[in-house]
Symmetry: C2
Subunit: 406 residues, 2 copies
């Protein structure tokens, strides 16, 4: 990473002796970090229980893929403009830090670099620099990965690695202005997560550090609340860098450093990770990075079975950095379409819009699909675009549901 | 109650033998219904625990006045456009029915009368009649009662018998239209709660049954969700009649009947309860009923102490059935005022708007007050209007906070 106004970012020191293992490669790294997928225990009707750090969540709304990868059930999103915190998905690239970091949130420190007056600020100081609230869709880059037939590696998310929540924090531009503004030549906002890096690993291979175009200064916030509650550890508390309309990975949890930089970070999660490339191709910096989200929608109800006759079809739609213009629904797998109604309050361009469509369903199976269009005229395609890691899937066909009416 | 198109509303039968007590009067009624205020147990630092039906709530956000009267801490409302369900206040006029009624929400039945085709509908049927979502402030008529110097009887609410939540349900007018429309001469919407009425009491003295002007048909909904979750028993699940912009008591929980009526109900909660009258005067039908809420605001942070220098003053403001136009803040108890900034997404005219005001506070005590104005130009008065039961208090002076900066 070429950084403006500061040396290489400090990597947080390891405080947990239990993790001081020397690890060399791939699967060993994952295992040591506790990131292997759960191997379901063979006891019928007895789901694995939630890990301690998310024990406060509502298990019946969730699918446990792993300790750091927890999906929201498709049916748990109802008509909601705001996803309840206890229903929201979780995805960590590294195990969450110790919960003690949220005990005194105001004491958490973030180093601000790449400005004319670089400083380390704690949350208490940030709270004096202004406040705003913004509703955003938080969505994992791999949401929809389960639909790729080539078996894209990574968590097999269906639709539930997404939610819409309200963040409160200070606009990042306020902070940058208070510290003298960006240094000359800065082109990226680079955020660094506060996760522990085990000894023996090259920090660049592990650190959660992402760069996004500096234009996000207009909308980014450093958030200490989500859904009107102090930001929980599971969602990046005490402080998270929120980039409205950008995929989840760019929304750095437990953010320890924000730097305005001339180049993108050289962390592996940026250089080869989260890059869209053809199946079988390795990640590289000349491929598109998972930044802005594309237009997307899906049906949330009914899912499997329903009654004959009049039915209300529910779903959610969002346009990433662009507001939703319309949502169409088809009950014949896209042969004919009709406009759905957007319902509930509009929480702004980065929020999702619940929709409802009233129709008659005869006895038998129906393939129900939805197709959203944003205000710039971008419409969901029918097909998925195959890519190695199964990123950014917004094809409407795969996201449909087959419902049996009787 | 003079009712159109139906006999006197059926009072729910008593299903809990434990409550089959013959009770004659006043305090005995309250005691039998479990509505006496808590007598704190004399164990220091050990707060009374939440009653079972609200055990899922976040106790540290709440003040327990009684088993059916639970207030949100002033400091627990942060900058939130939506109050988390586990932080929301609770106020029941009667003990909540048995939790079993929410086990199969779709089976709950509501009788619809005063229409050309009166029917009993279950929630599953209602769900086919349309759906919408609306954000409303839910506020008890007695919110602010604690500030009345004459010691108005009832729960001593400060500011926390209020919250802003999102309801999802069917527009009541859809239901009325499907049932042939209102009968001629209907002037009120009368909702009846599904609480048990103990034997030996005159139902009219006890039943939670309220009438509101029929104009609310434009906005009322029968709601089965709150904040994107199935409506909990504590907040009126399986089904609640929501009247946007009207005081809480009109938002009938576990609603068993909705009738379009020529006259207001003769239930005591309507004829003498929730009437604004001078101190010492009994309630009567010629006094104003607690229907539409008035314009109101209060500061939520800081509360007691803060730092010298730059401070952000937070609060919430709402206008009942009218949207908020502006909020002013004064840090010298109303001698000088400045406009605050409304922050976060606007959830519509019935929602509250969080506000923030940035100011410098020198060392010492400051009396911080806020004053909201709605879009029709109604501004909070300085003074409270004394009234027997301490209803509808929106005077800005009493709602201020004294903060010590050092």
């Amino acid at each position: 990473m070429t950084q403006t106004g500061a040396p290489h970012p400090a990597v947080p020191t390891i405080e947990n002796p239990a993790r001081r293992t020397v690890i060399k490669s791939g699967a060993g790294v994952l295992a040591a970090l506790g990131l292997m997928q759960f191997t379901p225990v063979a006891r019928a009707n007895e789901p694995a229980s939630l890990p301690d750090y998310v024990a406060w969540k509502r298990q019946q709304d969730l699918i446990l893929h792993g300790s750091e990868t927890i999906e929201t059930q498709r049916g748990a999103i109802r008509s909601g403009v705001v996803t309840p915190s206890r229903t929201l998905f979780v995805r960590n690239n590294l195990p969450a830090p110790d919960a003690s970091i949220t005990e005194d949130p105001d004491a958490w420190e973030v180093q601000v670099e790449g400005v004319n007056d670089p400083r380390t600020l704690n949350v208490a100081e940030l709270k004096r620099m202004g406040a705003t609230s913004v509703a955003t869709v938080l969505q994992c880059s791999g949401n929809g990965r389960a639909f790729f037939p080539h078996g894209a590696s990574g968590t097999q998310w269906s639709v539930g690695a997404a939610g819409c929540v309200v963040w409160t924090g200070v606009p990042l531009k306020n902070v940058i202005e208070e510290l003298g503004g960006p240094v000359e030549g800065a082109r990226f906002v680079t955020g660094t997560g506060g996760e522990e890096i085990p000894e023996g690993l090259d920090p660049k291979d592990i650190v959660v550090e992402r760069s996004v175009p500096i234009e996000v200064l207009e909308t980014a916030i450093l958030a200490w609340e989500m859904n009107d509650e102090p930001l929980d550890l599971a969602h990046g508390g005490p402080l998270r860098l929120v980039i409205p309309g950008y995929y989840g990975v760019n929304n750095i949890k437990y953010v320890k450093q924000v730097a305005l930089t001339k180049e993108e970070t050289e962390a592996r999660i940026q250089t080869s990770g989260y890059r869209v490339r053809d199946v079988g191709v390795s990640g590289d910096t000349d491929q598109p990075s998972m930044w802005e989200m594309n237009v997307k929608s899906w049906v949330t109800s009914p899912l499997d079975t329903t009654h004959e006759g009049r039915n209300l079809i529910y779903g959610v739609a969002f346009g990433g950095t662009k507001a939703i213009d319309k949502v169409e629904v088809s009950v014949d797998n896209g042969q004919t379409w009709q406009d759905a109604e957007l319902i509930g309050p509009d929480l702004g361009p980065y929020a999702w819009r619940p929709f409802v469509f009233t129709t008659e369903l005869g006895a038998g199976e129906h393939r129900i699909v939805s197709r959203a269009t944003d205000v710039e005229g971008n419409t969901q395609p029918r097909e998925r675009i195959d890519n190695e890691r199964g990123y950014g899937h917004n094809g409407w066909e795969d996201h449909g549901v087959t419902v049996s009416a009787s």
